[in-house]
Symmetry: C2
DNA sequence: ATATTTTTTGCATACGAATGCAAATACTTA
DNA sequence: TAAGTATTTGCATTCGTATGCAAAAAATAT
């Protein structure tokens, strides 16, 4: 198989112009006469020429590649975000280089190092944090870093999240208003800012109303752990009459345990609330009340921050929090009197 | 923000050697004395030097980037595959550049053109086909193309799929053996080879046993369409007593319609079978009988083909079909007498 | 010790495209 | 028509790294 690469030089020859001219034709805003533009264009299509992005980036210092680190593709929120993200960047002429963070080790730093090797124009960390040391490295390399769906106290990083504190509060208000007495919480991974904020917002609002958590278990944002947590939580004689689960993904697992292992009715005996509003939450089999994370708006903000920071390297990091509504569905009861059923 | 890039030249200066020496230290298998290797290494870490992959690829002609085109991240099979794929390639020092195929147009060709701009070492098309013309372009560029979960009659392309024909047959056998009389099918997108093969395998086996399709609708591998299809299919007086849905993703939507809109019992009144065995299929709420597509083995084959073709550009395209088992769960009845319930 | 082989090193160049600069051409204006 | 201005063009260089080649150094054999 003979591989012949067509370079700008060959196009130049065929078109009877210099290599510079060819380059200018493919560089938006460069000075070229219409006549030569046409000559070059036709020669280029005849040969099937397309500029080599890698060679170009060597000069310009821009690769049009955005590095993306993802950990939890099994949580449907992330594929959705990835799809939106990739589409949005694609429209702007950028593309996403994917790096999976193995769930085991905290090897994010190594991964980010690898990313930097590709001379990316920006880095998005989805649901993942990085060491302060690495943040410096990225800053030094002039690469803007955005944490997506996670925050971290480092003013060199931009962050885009939903308003988890507020969201947690909304859930508490809603459950209390629904007449629930024994309100429980199943936590996500405790190293995650989303977990912390959701719980803080939830518990603070409970306190505000003179209430406190009836039970608490940890699900680590992992379905298996969430199942365990649910089993543990619902084996006492007085089970909770409402449980807020830190993510939809875990909430589905919890609902399955409640219904199919313990034989309890949702919402008659237990109300369940999730967080994220992934598509499955609206499926009738779950019909889960949940706080929506507006993935599209979060992505839009992320993209605009990234692009801005590429155009102007002196852009200051930003911290965006997007409010999301509580979506009320059938996994929770609303009336006070229903509580007498227990 | 002052951005200083550390190049091999600066490392060379600090280490008191030539730039070539530095390069050789970072090129596996190159000839360097241990002593200089150490000098360079320490200088490199001191400066935080890492080779610029893009510059390197300009010379070597290898970018260590694999282009991946995905269309249906909303079907859980693909995020799973993406995760496995990315992880496997990562281990081999490659990374995945993602391109979303917008579901609307058949603009795959444009996308592949963009991919080629990045000088990728290989291309994986997940659930997507390409024009014969483009296949030539890729061949000319020396870029090996693999269709993942799709086939196409073009001997320049490698393909990796499950054995959809066999899988469809297994479903037919199973449903007949279960005593079902009115067996229906909800098709995927009719342009897809997976759809064609699954249906052919299914229908052929029915014929083999002297049976034929009782009803057929098209769901296009889209949940909304599948819902419509289900509504249409189950509004006759004599509804099917079994339906094979061409993908799990659609099957969930179909089950929801059957249960929550039509109030029918699964499997007592209708058996439902899917295809893919995505994780949700095993959730108790669906407990879906389905044909497993062994994502891990499909990915392993894909990766090995890609890597082989990179090492040896003369590798011939391969066509792999992987057999997957029928996973029997609760969405189907097995006993013959149960059929009398209808 | 010298001759010979092997290993290591630096020099110079190449990869493909972008760009500052100056020369050449085209266009205005008087 | 000549002088002046604006637009195009090509030359030469640059980005950061890899590599063929020949020179230098080290290791081995005689």
């Amino acid at each position: 198989m003979i591989t012949k690469k067509i370079t700008s030089l060959e196009v130049a020859k065929l078109a009877g112009v210099s290599q510079s001219a060819v380059s200018r034709v493919f560089t938006p805003g460069a000075s070229v006469a219409n006549k030569t533009k046409e000559k070059v264009r036709s020669a280029a299509t005849k040969l099937g020429y397309r500029p080599n992005i890698l060679a170009r980036s060597l000069i310009t210092g821009k690769s049009r590649i955005i590095g993306l680190v993802v950990a939890h593709l099994d949580n449907y929120f992330y594929p959705e975000a990835l799809e939106l993200l990739s589409n949005a960047l694609q429209k702007k002429g950028y593309h996403v280089l994917v790096f999976m963070a193995t769930k085991t080790a905290g090897n994010i730093d190594d991964i980010v190092d690898e990313i930097l090797d590709y001379q990316v124009d920006g880095i998005i960390l989805a649901s993942v944090a990085m060491s302060s040391n690495l943040a410096s490295r990225c800053a030094a390399a002039g690469v803007h870093v955005i944490l997506f769906n996670r925050t971290q106290d480092d003013n060199r990083l931009s962050t885009v999240t939903s308003d988890n504190l507020l969201g947690g509060g909304k859930v508490a208000k809603f459950l209390i208003a629904g007449g629930h007495k024994r309100i429980a919480y199943i936590a996500g991974w405790e190293g995650a800012s989303t977990q912390r904020d959701r719980e803080d917002g939830f518990v603070d609002e409970l306190k505000q109303q003179g209430r406190s958590l009836y039970a608490r278990e940890v699900g680590n944002y992992i379905q298996d752990d969430a199942r365990q947590a649910a089993r543990k939580m619902f084996t006492n004689d007085e089970i909770p009459d409402a449980v807020f689960v830190a993510s939809d993904d875990m909430a589905f697992a919890v609902m399955d345990v409640i219904r199919y292992e313990l034989g309890l009715k949702i919402p008659e005996q237990v109300s369940v609330v999730g967080y994220d509003d992934v598509p499955i939450a609206s499926w009738p089999a779950y019909d889960l009340t949940t706080v929506r994370q507006p993935a599209n708006r979060m992505v839009a903000e992320t993209v605009s921050i990234i692009l801005e920071s590429i155009e102007d390297p002196d852009t200051k990091p930003r911290r965006i929090q997007i409010d999301g509504p509580l979506i009320m569905r059938g996994s929770t009861r609303i009336s006070n009197n229903a509580s007498m059923e227990n």
